[in-house]
Symmetry: D2
Subunit: 366 residues, 4 copies
């Protein structure tokens, strides 16, 4: 299971094996047409494959790859699009387009719930902090896609998967954004970390000054470290996050302006919006202050640093991450409860916490 993350590395042909039953190759293309032609000259087929599943956006890039794959591998191409809430319009006509490019089939899968439930919320439970800021989602976006495309490959009997990324980073950012409701902004003004981002760069959240003059209170219900309800209403993970993104965005919550480490020694400026994530992060921690002992919190936090290093290194399917989650699952078993937060002009303040397992005023039983 540990090999799959390699699918998102670029510039060479990768072979991925997910699980143990049968091996599915990952064919990674470079979309600079000429370069590819040059490289393949004299070798005829790059290799024989029967059926390849291609991560497909309908854009020019991915459309070009369909014939390239057929030509180089002599294979059928199944296009795959993850429905991450981009709306009916964008999916409209996608099947015809895929087939026009030479694909034999378009498979569309809704993975919103899976992503939030299996990836985002476990990281929230950990209290994972990305470079000291409360930011969910960027590093695990590719993991869920990688898993989904391999699942489709299994279902349609393909022997390889491919994605059309140029490795330039834009596709990945775009994808992450839609998946996690994290908005990543970049632009000329941001190039200098001494400059403040412009107002009109933000898409999910209003400016602090434009937020309502009245605070908004939200009550988050949490079970086993996972958010389960909002203001008393049980919500699915993706709906929960979506609703908080909207509420939080209206109050200017969750804007993050940071200098990140892209590669060893390479810093870059990133501006993000993650209103829902910021609210939930605060809620989970407040509840833990009530239900976990000091030493437990200290150990959990030191594990969280390691967890974050691992996930940010792209090692989601590593047994180490799974083992750390076994720890997190167990330690949060006794942390049900709810937290009330006040949202006001960009700030999140706690106003109440309750839990049947509260250690507050607990008498010492010695």
């Amino acid at each position: 299971m540990a090999q799959l993350q390699a699918i998102s590395s670029t510039s060479s042909i990768n072979i991925a094996s997910y699980g143990s039953k049968r091996r599915i190759q990952a064919v990674l293309t470079s979309n600079t047409g000429t370069g590819i032609s040059d490289l393949t000259k004299g070798v005829g087929l790059r290799g024989k494959l029967n059926k390849v599943v291609l991560a497909y956006s309908g854009g020019l890039d991915t459309s070009v790859i369909v014939p390239w794959l057929r030509e180089n591998y002599g294979c059928e191409v199944v296009c795959f699009t993850a429905d991450v809430g981009q709306g009916i319009k964008e999916l409209d006509g996608l099947e015809e387009k895929a087939k026009a490019s030479g694909a034999c089939q378009l498979v569309v899968k809704d993975i919103k719930e899976e992503f939030v439930r299996e990836y985002i919320f476990p990281c929230l439970r950990v209290g994972e902090v990305y470079e000291r800021k409360y930011l969910l989602g960027t590093s695990m976006a590719w993991s869920v896609i990688a898993k989904a495309i391999v699942d489709v490959a299994r279902e349609v009997g393909a022997d390889a998967v491919s994605h059309g990324c140029t490795g330039k980073g834009n596709d990945q950012t775009c994808l992450s954004t839609k998946l996690a409701s994290i908005l990543f902004l970049q632009g000329d003004i941001l190039e200098d970390p001494a400059n403040e981002p412009k107002k009109d760069m933000y898409m999910m959240s209003v400016d602090l000054e434009d937020a309502p003059d009245e605070p908004r209170y939200v009550e988050i219900g949490i079970d086993s470290g996972i958010p389960v309800s909002l203001n008393g209403k049980i919500l699915s993970p993706a709906s929960h996050l979506a609703e908080l993104n909207e509420i939080g965005g209206r109050h200017g919550i969750g804007r993050i302006d940071m200098v990140e480490n892209r590669l060893v020694g390479m810093k870059s400026r990133g501006v993000y919006e993650t209103p829902g994530g910021t609210i939930l992060f605060n809620a989970v921690r407040e509840l833990e202050s009530l239900t976990l002992y000091r030493e437990t919190i200290q150990v959990k936090d030191s594990f969280a640093l390691r967890y974050a290093e691992l996930v940010n290194a792209g090692s989601w399917f590593d047994p180490l991450r799974e083992s750390m989650d076994a720890f997190m699952e167990k330690i949060t078993e006794t942390t049900p409860g709810s937290v009330t937060l006040k949202l006001y002009k960009g700030s999140v303040s706690v106003t109440g916490r309750t839990s049947p397992y509260s250690l507050y005023r607990g008498y010492l039983l010695l």
Copy 2:
């Protein structure tokens, strides 16, 4: 040097040795007169001492201890008051009062700068987080007092020190507050962590809703991890913190409402105000994001967790803390620079960072 912290533990006679030259005892009193009398019956003198330095507030509690010390130890009593900015009025007449109680002398020392420079700012450099919140000062307040009183004992040739704490916690809180400009609030309403604190409990900061509608920008200059200037003006540590406390307080910055761990398994509710500390904490971290590599930050943060555990356990004078500071001093050597922050209705947002050692856009020299 490691033994001094014991001076603040209660309910028994402690012997403290600070440094190696000569030993100075710490005599801890319980100020419930009768209890003391009962205890001392039949033993005559508790022990013979020549001169004792008493931490003296001028309040009833400490005034009672002067004769108690003389009676029980047959010693002269030197009263000591730390000038922590309580104003001339409070110090006025203090010497007469002390002498009226039987003291031979009153020594007043201004330790504001020392406290901020030697205790608060090093913790800031570490990025120390107290139970996951940005809170400076509570745990080291006693360390600076302990050190100051022992220094006075040396100067006046005393062979013991004493403080008048009842161990009930109020004196300590009061003291910490004045020292660190941290406000600690407690009251009936706070007893239930499900309740929001009342508006009129706060003393240093306005309510978010009452803060100005215009944001305020502050530029913090930092050298070797330590704040050195504010808006281009060089300030001493204590003045720096004081000015930011005032500015931040006006914008509702730094209110902290938390459930803490007092003793093993004992949770309590605490509400604090630390406007200046919150601003500086953010400034230091933002600068590090520009000047330190990712792995360096990860290691520094994992050390910070340990540092916080140690300091919160009261082990300020432990060689371990000193060794950790040797690490912190070295790692922040190359982090001069400045950070501009926007303060607005309780929120602190970074709007600019610059450093001559910035790793941003640095080309890799391989």
Copy 3:
């Protein structure tokens, strides 16, 4: 579940609650008769209890406690002896003796397998190191006793448990020794850490110089981090450890001479013998070098440091320890295999390792 460890603390009356159903008190006695009498004067019964289970050795100390408990609590006393392999002779006549002291019943329980399976081997899986040496058992010996006595209390419907420890440490040591086959030696010569232990102090292991001139090879089979077989023969946990104790002892394996930290700032000298534990510790680690990635080992080792701190602090029943074991269980899932070790005059050298999950020479699947 977290409260039980308190049962082994001394010098005050402790109340233990194990599990949530009903509370069972722990009555801790001081066996210095007069002191007790003085204390109890004027209060009549210390408290009313119906039935108390007493950890009973048959020695004078515990025999004296039976009437003391009856007198002070007006209760029936059930004596409990853990069969930890002390042989039939020692158990012979124990029931009569107990009844002669005033006990209504003697319960004998064999907990050898439980101790090794539930306590010793999980610590082995962690790779727990006690103050940097490979030492199993001391810190968890009291945990298994505590659990066993509470189990008995439940079975016989008692409302309290008691043990006869003087708190002087000898009983505890004696008990630990029998349970874990760890021998703890102390004596005048050891008082100075500059002296070498005398030959005749050791009981389980021969001197290195007296060990056979021929090495002995043992093959340890391991599954999920737990030893399961010895030289191809499946063995129960306690038999496994016992057999290796004998084999290892004959070759001078597992002598440990260390300066330990008893209390904060108190160092003591300890000399231990743990032949079987030393062999197994090496076997488990060698196998992991074959089956775990470098980063996984690094994280596991940093968790092991925390685990050891926790267990040595007596917090076996803490949810934190249980959560750490959830991590350990998961991370060792894929580490079956076997390791061959050569035992020769006190040294353990690895001579072979095999595993179906070996990562050695594994081709990278990218």
Copy 4:
């Protein structure tokens, strides 16, 4: 200073800057002549350099590089050989050979003491463990060479440095061996980790069975975590290590047979001999058990894990490593003392420890 380690990476041209004054390039060659010629065709000079310092062994590989460098960069070539104790014979005639290859000069530097003092002993002080075994030296061998060659480049006014490594690993191993007196063995039999190494593979240490029947006692004097004397005689770092290598080797001490992690997911078998390192590692730790508090040891050990990760990643000149050493220097300030160890047939047992700062039996000063 942080960039230098890159000099040992292979397969591309690297630019190294050591210090801030002026930049010195690192020219890395691949010694497969034809490949290079092909690559350079059509580009004439690869770049213009004035003077290059080449790490020079006198072997065929490095001799071929001299003309290659002159041809490709139009530069003078200064050969550099590190005197690491290979004896006069090997250095004999080396200058003539270098000049015959076209070099303008041969510089020979003795770096034995520097290596042990500046690299090996600091790691010893840390208690650095390489993949859980006590192994000194491998990972920092390249660091000292890198530093030495850049120093020479400065002295002779060169603008680039180069080494003739093929990147196949043999040169590096050979070099490390001589530098650190660590012997690294590899061969067919070792390919399967299930096989025991053959007797005749070892070069520094005798077989356990062939070691003397009489034990040998050594007394190591330590100051600030660094070994300073042997049996009461003050020795320089390199002499100290050399003498212990000989003594230890005669008693079969320090053989290490391990499965290592070479690259991510690549395991390899390594057999090492490090008699002196093993003895000193034990001595330093035994002394710390006497002079450091339990919590201090716990923190130091968790730092040591991080330190080892860093050093093994080749980041010796990283400010993070330097900062960690600032911690280590401070924490070991109060650990002078001496430790007596018994060496017998491959095992090292402590028989005595003394220190003026011993915490043993120290009375608590509260």
